[in-house]
């Protein structure tokens, strides 16, 4: 596959994954701009990293653990305070039809 270019179809697929309802114009623009950036990023391929460990984090620490002690929750009112739609008990969304939409 051509790593350098990201075509309209790929942009659409990525937009779907990212849950962005992009317009045709945005898709076209992103196709160009993302291609430019990916082309630039190609320079990484010049480096031989076969024996290099990936570095996800620079921290010298591990095992930051919390004791199993109850802390106060926000409570229903505060939890729902910023909700775009709620009934005072639950967050409300349009009916979820595909119950298998989860993992």
């Amino acid at each position: 596959m051509d790593k350098k270019k990201i075509n309209i179809e790929q942009v659409k697929q990525v937009a779907k994954l990212a849950r962005l309802n992009l317009s045709e114009a945005e898709i076209a623009q992103f196709s160009t701009q993302m291609s430019d950036i990916l082309q630039y990023v190609e320079k990484l391929d010049r480096l031989d990293t076969a024996n290099i460990e990936p570095l996800a984090h620079c921290l010298p620490v591990s095992n930051c653990l919390r004791e199993d002690i109850v802390k106060p929750s926000l409570g229903t009112e505060k939890t729902l305070a910023n909700a775009p739609d709620s009934d005072g008990q639950f967050f409300i969304v349009p009916k979820i039809l595909d119950e298998a939409g989860g993992p």
């Binding site: 994954l17 849950r19 996800a56 984090h57 921290l59 620490v61 591990s62 095992n63 930051c64 653990l65 919390r66 004791e67 199993d68 002690i69 109850v70 802390k71 106060p72 929750s73 926000l74 409570g75 229903t76 939890t79 729902l80 009934d87 008990q89 639950f90 967050f91 409300i92 969304v93 349009p94 009916k95 979820i96 119950e99 298998a100 939409g101 989860g102 993992p103």
Partner: protein
């Protein structure tokens, strides 16, 4: 269908809720059926800027369970984000473990037939956070995040189960194990354990093998549903194979949901749609490094596992597999039994006390047998009284019940309730003679070999027991009665 030569192949994905007080990454309390959205904080609500901090107890429970399942415990593990959008998942990613699970390559031993066991390989054990709950109304859905962030342990087995029975047996066995370890309450009704079997069948036909497409079954909320759902799915697959001949290939895995009322599986997802979870290491969490000392500390929480205990009870105490199974369904009960036997009680008698009288009373009170207020020592004493013939079996049951209310030793209770058996032969002979004199017809019936023999004999014995208010030692009475009847 019966003419088909086939083999059932099932692997299980199991989610077990850990018995922590708080959530996986925040201090929100885990409360079953709490007011909706009342146990939510910035972390589990996924508010901007909120960060997760892992619960030590959850990590330790997972390592403990993985150890009990004979897994290799990872010295280094990390957290990954699994991305998908769903309203019950506030961050739209789930914190889980992808390539470095807590434990790998273990096995669980399950009982398959009287005394026999089978090893099912465990692929991996990992930790993750649960999502919330979506409830579906007429025109909209409601989202409750109380459960969001609950610590789950996901256990994935190899496809080593070959019948629906094996699937449910594994489920029950796993429930016993996590309960023994204290890692989970494992209450199916509260959704503490969720089982998702991956089922297919290998069919031998015309000298070649055909594998049906794998299906995953969701929504199995009880052990019975798990077994029935798996069995149904096997039948459905065989029928579908006969109909369409479709075989497994990459991408044609389907998802079915179990409809418990109708007793059928219903197609949920036609094909494994291109799920792209975009796993990557969660930059908000640091790795978990399990050194030898910590692992040893955690493993000190290991105990004799239920199946081993069950085997020991049958081997050392000569119990039947069924009784041993009942006793080891619960760790406290099993230990209570074991300690009572070790305190000198006869195993069979102790077992009967527990399974016949004890469990009944405990059920009524909603507690365990070990919590009835009877120490293993006192129970052993009661067993000894019964063995010595000091009390009858009926009396012993009454004494057991009394012991739950009083701290007195069984002997004292027996005395104060006047339940000590009369074993004085002279006194009993006199009573037997009185009964014989008073019931001539019954004596005749008892002596001749006829239909009425047994009944008449029982009647005479009953009369003696009545006259002694049940305190006569039935064995001695029977001996005297036999002698007297013979001599008439």
């Amino acid at each position: 269908m019966s003419e088909l030569d086939y083999k059932i192949i099932v692997g299980l994905e199991i989610h077990v809720q850990l018995a922590t007080r708080t959530k996986m990454f925040c201090g929100c309390e885990l409360v079953f059926a709490a007011e909706p959205n009342s146990r939510v904080c910035p972390v589990c609500l996924g508010l901007p800027g909120a960060l997760p901090v892992m619960n030590r107890q959850a990590v330790e429970f997972a390592i403990l369970t993985a150890s009990a399942l004979n897994c290799k415990i990872a010295e280094f593990t990390k957290w990954d984000r699994k991305s998908y959008y769903y309203p019950d998942l506030p961050k739209n990613y789930q914190i889980s473990q992808y390539d470095l699970p807590v434990g790998e390559n273990g096995f669980i031993e399950i009982p398959i037939a009287e005394g026999q066991t089978k090893k099912i390989r465990i692929l991996r054990v990992h930790l993750e956070e649960d999502a919330g709950k979506n409830l579906h109304g007429e025109n909209f859905s409601q989202v409750d995040l109380n459960r969001a962030g609950t610590p789950l342990m996901e256990i994935v087995t190899q496809p080593d189960m070959n019948s629906p029975q094996e699937v449910s047996t594994l489920a029950v066995e796993l429930q016993r194990i996590v309960r023994f370890l204290g890692a989970s309450e494992a209450d199916m009704q509260k959704g503490h354990m969720r089982f998702e079997p991956n089922v297919n069948v290998v069919i031998k036909k015309d000298g070649s093998e055909f594998k049906t497409p794998i299906t995953e079954i969701k929504n199995l909320n009880s052990f019975k549903a798990l077994e029935k759902g798996t069995a149904f799915e096997v039948k459905r697959q065989l029928n579908e194979f006969l109909d369409s001949g479709e075989v497994a290939k990459s991408g044609n895995k389907k998802t079915f949901g179990w409809d418990d009322t109708r007793g059928v599986t219903v197609l949920q997802r036609e094909k494994e749609e291109a799920h792209d979870y975009r796993y990557f290491p969660d930059p908000d969490l640091v790795p978990v490094v399990v050194n030898e000392k910590w692992l040893a500390d955690i493993k000190s929480g290991l105990c004799e596992l239920p199946l081993a205990m069950q085997k020991r009870f049958t081997a050392d105490y000569s119990l039947g597999d069924y009784d041993a199974g009942v006793l080891t369904a619960d760790k406290d009960t099993a230990l209570f039994f074991d300690n009572a036997v070790k305190a000198g009680g006869d195993a069979k008698r102790i077992c009967n006390f527990i399974t016949q009288t004890g469990l009944k009373i405990a059920n009524e009170k909603g507690c365990r047998v070990s919590e009835l207020g009877i120490s293993p020592q006192r129970l052993a004493e009661l067993a000894k009284l019964l063995d010595a013939g000091t009390v009858s079996a009926t009396a012993a049951a009454a004494i057991f019940e009394k012991m739950t209310q009083s701290d007195e030793m069984p002997q004292q209770i027996a005395e104060s309730l006047n339940l000590i058996q009369k074993s004085d032969a002279d006194e009993l002979k006199k009573i037997v003679d009185d009964v014989i004199t008073a019931n001539q017809q019954a004596v005749e019936d008892a002596k001749c070999d006829g239909k009425k023999t047994k009944k008449a004999y029982g009647f005479l014995m009953g009369q003696v027991m009545q006259k002694t208010k049940g305190t006569a030692n039935p064995q001695i009475v029977a001996k005297i009665m036999d002698e007297r009847l013979k001599s008439i």
